[in-house]
């Protein structure tokens, strides 16, 4: 039962975007809390946990595939806290499993809130690159439209994430060209450049580097290829948008 639980725990961490070093440490900590010793093998699409019971000397091997990748750092943080609670407070296994289920079934932040926060963050990027207020406003609107479009296409209509990324980048770049077309503000180039920054896969890039440092080269390469794919899709979308508008100037 402990092996299956630890395997599900590790899979959830991988799905939520945790780096391999964190998965190894957390699973090892939980196994230690219940008198075992765990060895975790992390692959791009599944996790394998080998649990050795120190008392009985038995070995249990569990493997589970991930169902999908949904980045959620609040879940990663809560699961990490759970592992510390198990070790420090000697939480019984059934209680820990109940807490795990509660964490994984917790409601996510609503889509509209995430969209607004992402748009605010992207508008702030525009400001960091010395864009003016009007450019920030256009970047905000372009991000709201592109981000929401990508989420709706992926979640509601089941469109492939790469195609949705191309469409979102195209829409955002076309909308940000309104600075040029309607002569809004004095920094239209910065609005155009920063309008697609929200699509850059920062977490997969960071995790790839972290996995590389930790020695999980297969996982690192997998995450790196995934991140590059998204970046290429974003570039294709941006190029399509500029080609549609017959943009000349770079």
């Amino acid at each position: 039962m402990l092996g299956t639980f630890l395997c599900s725990y590790a899979t959830t961490l991988l799905e939520c975007g945790a780096a391999t070093v964190r998965i190894e440490k957390n699973v090892g900590r939980m196994a230690e809390a219940y008198g075992g010793n765990a060895e975790v093998s992390i692959y791009p699409r599944h996790v394998e946990v080998v649990l050795k019971d120190d008392e009985s000397g038995t070995t249990e091997v569990c493997s589970k595939a991930i169902s999908g990748s949904v980045i959620n750092y609040s879940t990663v943080s809560a699961l990490s806290k759970l592992s510390w609670n198990c070790l420090d407070r000697r939480t019984p296994l059934p209680v820990a499993m109940r807490q795990y289920r509660r964490i994984t079934h917790a409601a996510r932040i609503p889509l509209w809130a995430v969209t607004l926060l992402a748009a605010l963050a992207n508008a702030s990027f525009c400001r960091l690159f010395e864009g003016d207020g009007q450019a920030m406003g256009i970047v905000f609107l372009a991000t709201v439209c592109g981000f929401h479009l990508r989420s709706v296409l992926c979640r509601r209509h089941g469109v492939d994430m790469r195609i949705a990324t191309i469409l979102a980048a195209c829409v955002s770049s076309v909308l940000s060209c309104s600075c040029y077309v309607f002569d809004i503000g004095s920094t239209p180039d910065i609005a155009l450049g920063t309008s697609v920054l929200y699509l850059i896969p920062g977490i997969p890039y960071l995790n790839a580097v972290s996995d590389l440092i930790n020695g999980h080269h297969i996982c690192a390469m997998s995450r790196f290829v995934h991140a590059i794919t998204i970046t290429v899709c974003l570039s294709i979308g941006l190029y399509l948008g500029l080609a549609l508008m017959s943009f000349q100037g770079f």
């Binding site: 439209c145 929401h148 479009l149 709706v152 296409l153 509601r156 209509h157 829409v171 076309v174 909308l175 060209c177 309104s178 040029y180 077309v181 309607f182 239209p188 180039d189 549609l244 508008m245 017959s246 943009f247 000349q248 100037g249 770079f250």
Partner: protein, 59 residues
């Protein structure tokens, strides 16, 4: 070098993009609500027996 937009229909493209986003995001919701409204108030209705009722001119 000054950047320029060469497309004469650029403004329409921007409006089209905004309309596309609205259509994809709210299109299914609007259709669903219209269907519920029509189901309740019968604004558009037809008689099922009339759909397959035709006169054969050859006879």
């Amino acid at each position: 070098m000054t950047a320029t937009i060469q497309n004469p229909y650029a403004a329409w493209l921007i409006i089209g993009c905004a309309a596309l986003v609205l259509l994809i995001v709210f299109g299914s919701t609007v259709c669903h609500r219209l269907a519920i409204f029509n189901h309740k108030h019968h604004i558009v209705e037809w008689d099922d027996s009339d759909i397959y009722d035709w006169e054969d001119e050859d006879e």
